[in-house]
Symmetry: C2
Subunit: 313 residues, 2 copies
């Protein structure tokens, strides 16, 4: 059974005072290249640089005062960690992030920069879960999962809600797939607001667990994923998968070269900084442009947090 | 005697159907860093990637049909060449650009990409002028100077006009100075629309001819300029200088490190691609932030055309 629309509407209202209503941009050059009409929802301009702010804020605002005072925790080394850190700061809570000790210093510093605590653990799944559980037990903090949490999913869906409000007549919506939080929230929003539109998830070929999960009808692990799109490494969760199974038309896969080319196109032609994970959706549309020719498409550019010292071009 | 406001108002109306009304952006992080309130006019999102479109279009639209049919020519290897190329294409004219044969292929290709012809010359001032004069004489094309032309200056001033319309209460306006087209157009707009605001021109220390020109009261040549801000190498012209002398409060100079840091800040915190020449104005505000503390400032980000394969970070 799909979650009700009310959940998304409430989430949108709940977080509206904290987030940016991000702009929608277009590019004549990219439209000409694709042979179709493309609208970009620029979540790279979201606070903290990615759509993850939406889900983190919604989840934290669903806690009661006492829970918020006791703090929140997550395990993530990516944008969700920063999003939870900033959300906690904005809402009078305190975030603790469990991160592998091998995470790049730049990511640790970003999380600390938003005022969160970091607990380092060995870089294994077992160590991460044990460290997290211990911390939760000791402190009474609420654990918030980066994607497999309905409140997070509803929050992520608000990007598509704004998108559909702003651009009428979208026929196709593209979003990247990591753990599935963005795509499942997007699919819910589209289902209730524009049911005729198709929702495409996009994955790197080097981390195509969602493709296989939908194909086989059960969640496949993400085994040794390798891709520059480092926000898309994780496997799906049961909650994101349950929504995707029902509402996602297809998962399109793109290779590394296609991702980097799409990223470069966004930087060069639109003059915006988009992270590799944010560029995959455009890569997919361009890869299959014959299939989408003449359509009106919406692409969610998920984020813009990229290490400028380590660009692929 | 200063040109009348009517010229700017006419220019704004004349080019309005051809250009983008570019967005104004802000960044909490950069405001905190500067200790003041900063608004950015994003001409990096202008068609062709820079404010130069405005001046080129206004100048070309001031020609009569016959003149436009005979074509236009300029010498530039930078954004004005591309701007004139695209403007000619949009207005039923044809542009020819005289460029040193030593210009990077990427710049030649950009100009050709907008449909203009290129005539290569030896990389000397004499060769450039001779080649240009010969071409004009032979074809009857109209020569349009990249900055020392009042119609170009009025066009460039329309960016500040939009800016002042959109953001009320600006006390300071910062813009980069190359040949002076942008700063003199900006200063005119401010003079007529918000005379209480101060206008600051910004130059790289390695190309500070405008600083010395204003100090000495006459145009100084730009001798062996060296800076990453390659849009700011040229000396002033008599028309831009005559306006700057009257209306520019001060020229602030910034070093290469300050330019690169400001550029990186814009990319990292605002997620936008800005060229070095576009970042100098923020560099100046940050360099003298004590002086500008608590003020409401407007910065014109002049363009975003940068070779991603040759970034300084």
């Amino acid at each position: 059974m799909l979650p009700e629309f009310r959940n998304l509407l409430d989430a949108k209202l709940r977080i509206s005072g904290y987030i940016h209503k991000t702009p929608v941009m277009t590019s004549t050059a990219i439209n000409n290249l694709a042979g179709s009409e493309i609208y970009f929802k620029c979540e790279n301009f979201q606070r903290m640089g990615a759509f993850k702010m939406r889900g983190a804020l919604n989840a934290i605002l669903m806690l009661n005062d006492e829970e918020r005072r006791a703090g929140v925790a997550t395990h993530s080394s990516g944008n969700f960690a920063q999003a939870l850190a900033l959300s906690a700061k904005l809402t009078g809570s305190r975030a603790t992030v469990i991160m592998p000790r091998t995470s790049p210093e730049v990511k640790k510093n970003a999380v600390r920069g938003y005022g969160a605590d970091i607990i380092e653990c060995e870089p294994t799944l077992a160590a991460r879960e044990e460290t997290t559980n211990e911390f939760i037990k000791k402190t009474g903090a609420s654990f918030l999962h980066p994607f497999n949490d309905f409140n997070v999913i509803y929050g992520q869906g608000t990007a598509a809600m704004e998108f559909l409000d702003e651009v009428s007549g979208l026929e196709l919506i593209f979003a990247p797939v990591g753990g599935g939080g963005l795509i499942s929230g997007t699919a819910l929003a589209v289902h209730y607001m524009k049911p005729s539109a198709k929702v495409y998830g996009v994955e790197p070929l080097g981390a195509d667990d969602a493709y296989w999960s939908l194909k086989k009808g059960e969640i496949q692990p993400s085994v040794n994923p390798v891709t520059i799109a480092d926000g898309l490494l994780t496997a799906l969760g049961d909650r994101t998968f349950s929504i995707m199974k029902e509402l996602v038309t297809e998962i399109i896969r793109v290779d590394e070269k296609e991702i980097i080319e799409a990223m470069r196109l966004l930087w060069e032609r639109m003059k915006i900084v988009v992270e590799p994970s944010g560029a995959v959706a455009l890569a997919a549309l361009l890869k299959e442009k014959e299939k989408f020719r003449g359509k009106k498409s919406g692409i969610i550019l998920s984020g813009g947090n990229v290490d400028l010292g380590r660009l692929p071009f």
